[in-house]
Symmetry: C2
Subunit: 208 residues, 2 copies
DNA sequence: CGATGACATGTCACAACGTACATGTCGTTG
DNA sequence: CAACGACATGTACGTTGTGACATGTCATCG
């Protein structure tokens, strides 16, 4: 249901076509809530059928811009104010990190180095964008300033991940000679043992 | 495809049943890669059919433990080493933040306060778990120490979000009297205007 | 005027995911 | 032994999301 509300939220800024919205999801929002155009177009049809948006105008090349209705605006607001937040992420990058022990040290170092570079670079580009907002280059309206808060969240998450990857490279966990010892493709210790699975180590505290 | 590899990764630690795996996804991994038990059971069947895992043992109450095969182990390793990382997140919390400008100041403050508390608390509980790993309470094996890296990532992301929510509450963006001015449920400025959508403000830098 | 490329929208089939429901086992406790 | 709750696995169905393909428009450039 998040895509539905994401689209309504973007349309609350003003009329836009499916193509516009797809571009915004592709560019700024891709790292936060990925969405491809087929899903966007079909969701728009559904929203229109439900009366939450309506056709605003037709442009060249079959362009169809939608505009949010009062009902739609009320629905985003209701979602924002009343609907409980889903705190679960979905981050492949973090999932992978739980299996780093299966990687050969060389591959792991290479991977972590790439990750650090990626996150640092992305954070920097977001930070630059945030700074340009701070300089007032996007106007000083209420909306712009509030969106600045959202950008800040993305910046901080990416910076945190960049710092994490660097930390992982530098920490003595990596430097330790036992950990650093190269090994072949032999099965990891503990795997395929007949008795019930190893320790319960990876069971962390209950998740939200 | 990530669930598939997530299951293989967990089974690389040693044999486990669908129930065990579902619990681990529910507890530690829920905030990183959510998965319900029906999905896990059906994925296990598929993995078994593909020869990446095999039945290890049968226990009481129809319990069926699986064990990873050589092919399965090779497949996780291939995934970890060769498959490109998908850097897109999926965070409802961040998506919402792009629409904060639609919220009434009171609701927004309440929401941000809740968010700060949630992330701080979750980060703390993860931090405590990480510390117990550092104290060696889960053993000092290669696996445990490497998994410590994954926990650290989760800690840092949650701490970053907690700090962000506090920052958002404290920043003068919030204190500004114009922003703080209460308003009714009237449509936001810019919405439903006849001409094509407002400024292009929210278009950030290209996402990864 | 033909080729090219960005614009713009869509269909279709399938894979992934979530909720609700169904079933049965086993240990504990009253 | 009856009731209960945790253990354990599954089916069925609907929704969400993805990848591949298909179609047509318009501006620009040679």
């Amino acid at each position: 249901m998040s895509l539905r509300h994401g689209l309504l939220g973007l349309l609350a800024e003003g009329p836009a076509s499916g193509y516009d919205l797809a571009r915004r999801f592709q560019e700024g929002l891709n790292s936060i809530w990925p969405a491809q155009h087929p899903q966007i177009y079909s969701e728009l049809s559904r929203l229109a059928k439900a009366g939450l948006i309506e056709v605003d105008s037709h442009g060249p090349r079959r362009r169809t811009a939608y505009r949010i209705t009062d009902a739609g605006l009320a629905e985003v607001r209701r979602w924002l104010a009343e609907e409980p937040v889903d705190h679960s992420f979905r981050m492949e990058s973090l999932l992978r990190s739980f299996f780093f022990w299966l990687m050969e040290p060389g591959d792991l170092k290479r991977r972590l180095t790439e990750e650090a570079a990626y996150y640092a670079q992305f954070a920097a580009s977001l930070r630059e964008y945030a700074d340009s907002k701070d300089r007032g280059e996007w106007g000083t309206g209420e909306r712009t300033r509030a969106q600045r808060i959202g950008v800040e969240a993305a910046v901080r998450v990416n910076e945190a991940l960049a710092a994490w990857a660097r930390w992982a490279l530098e920490t003595d966990l990596m430097a330790d000679e036992e950990f650093g010892r190269p090994r072949g493709a032999a099965p990891a210790e503990g795997a395929r043992s007949p008795e019930r699975g190893g320790d319960t180590a990876a069971r962390g505290p209950a998740g939200g």
